[in-house]
């Protein structure tokens, strides 16, 4: 009798326990993460950006009055790096100079603001020919700045 009386309750509690799977480990993980919230923005960003932190740290000190460009390859990691940094860095404006297929000559105007830096001749490398090279950095990064009025290379 006693079993029959408590069985529905036990079944529902067991069902709730099954449905709450993962909640307890998530609660622990959240608590550990929250404990780091006071570590300071720099430490947290270093952890979140990993190897890209150095580029972020260099670019965030850039002058927001200019638009900054950096080279980028068309692989998934580069694209993610660019998208993350572009948003994070604002108000410093950064654009990516994407690699183009060697046999593809983009028609003038096809690349928007990038267009003025592109040699439109067939087989021409997509190079920042008109750009003023501001600085070269490690890790394969080259950072450029668009020339301001009257500036030459």
């Amino acid at each position: 009798m006693a079993v029959a009386r408590f069985l529905p309750g036990l079944c529902w509690c067991a069902l709730a326990a099954v449905a709450s799977r993962g909640a307890w480990s998530e609660l622990g993980a959240n608590a550990r993460l929250a404990a780091h919230a006071g570590d300071g923005a720099d430490a947290l960003l270093r952890g979140a950006l990993g190897e890209n932190y150095a580029l972020y740290a260099a670019l965030r000190r850039a002058d927001p009055q200019h638009v900054w460009w950096f080279e980028e390859r068309l692989d998934a990691a580069s694209l993610t790096r660019f998208i993350r940094l572009r948003t994070l860095l604002y108000p410093v404006r950064v654009h990516a100079l994407r690699d183009l297929a060697p046999d593809w000559a983009p028609p003038p105007g096809a690349l928007g603001p990038r267009d003025r830096f592109v040699d439109h001749a067939p087989h021409a490398p997509f190079a920042a020919r008109a750009l003023l090279v501001e600085e070269s950095r490690g890790d394969g990064w080259v950072v450029y700045r668009a020339p301001a009025n009257g500036e030459t290379r």
Partner: protein, 465 residues
Amino acid sequence: MSLGWLQLAGLLGLPLVAGIGVLARMRLPLSCARLAWLAWAWVAGLLVLGLFLYAWVLAEAPLARAPLAFGAIALALFASGLRKLKASASAPLEDTVARAPTWERWLWRASVFAILALAVSRVAASAAIPVLEGDEANYWTLRAKLLWQHGGISAGFLADSVDTELIYHPAYPFFNSLLQLWSFCWAGGIDAFAARIAIVACGPALWLALAGLLARVARPCVGAVLLWITATLPLTQSASRFAESDLLSALGMVVALDGWLRVRADRGEGWRVLALGCAFFLWSKNEGALWIAAALAGTLVAAFLPGGARFAVLRPRRAWLWALVPALFVALTAGYNAYHGFSNDLTSGDYRGKGMLALLVEQFPERTAPVLAWFAKHVWFDRDTVVVYVALLAVLVARPAWIRRRELNAPVFALLFASAGLVLVYVATPHPIPQHLETSAHRVAWTLFPVAIVLLARATEPERT
């Protein structure tokens, strides 16, 4: 995060105080909702805050002074509403928890408490994660940054808004970005950690609103299990930690459904709660237009079913004045877009020069099957959600009379229409599939899940007359 405890208290406390004042002025006392009341106050407070900040950025007023100005408004609303709150009376609320056996009451209370603790832990954890990617970073936070950088909706902001090398979707509603701007106002600058605080705080509010609703419509043991199923979904976890607008949409939908069920139960406050919920989800995301269209279509179909209310569904006519509240928020977005010539990329055909209807007709034969298959695999029969959707389907098939219940028929049709509408949106999208499906459809479909569990919970209860 650069915010101290006092700033956090102001960031979260002032909207809540303003919301309590608004609820008092709307004659929605604590006694008419209990658990959900705090969630309603948060919803109302964020709407008032959003309106205030929208006016502030339009006026290009100094953003650093916004907390002080809104503080004065919030306190004035609270002080003037307090007397009304005490004076307002409400009929006792039906509550299945009070009638349940002891073990069920304890299961319910422990579950709600634990889920709230989980939700709060998600808010705290989000403060250690910078806003880096996804729609959160690329649209909503970036727009808030533009507002901060340009000091409001200035010529510079408008120029940057249409620079597709920087940001997309200038036609999106402002609500999410304004709430992130609120964090910047308290932080005194752009803060990649504090940005989403007001938005992720909608997580605990969602559980309060949902628990309050489930406590009325189902047995506590059923409600507890369904709450756990929803709270532990991976999509719920991500929606609760990042400032996508889907959490805002889901919260608004639950509050709106609560309002609708109250309307059908002839409770006076129903229309006001419905207006609050609709305003919230309509200002959160453009999908709100789909949800409201589905809700209106569902109401219409239900009204003309055999035995339906027909045109009596429009009564009392005075209650429809509350539709002006959500209409105001729709008008804000529509007015801004019309004035500046912005349009939604999905409906205007920006990408291919074809409108959504033309694309729907053109792509229907080719895309319908793969899109349906994708939704079946990843949404309706997904490992985590299949229990709820299959149970709902089983009830629909096995007990068709259930759908004729007065208070349920319209939401059931609305859910069906919303799901069908969502499928059609992805059939008609100018973007390639499956990429567009994979980057957004999970999240958007998740918005409907809390509504689905309420309907399923209600289906387990015998009809009340």
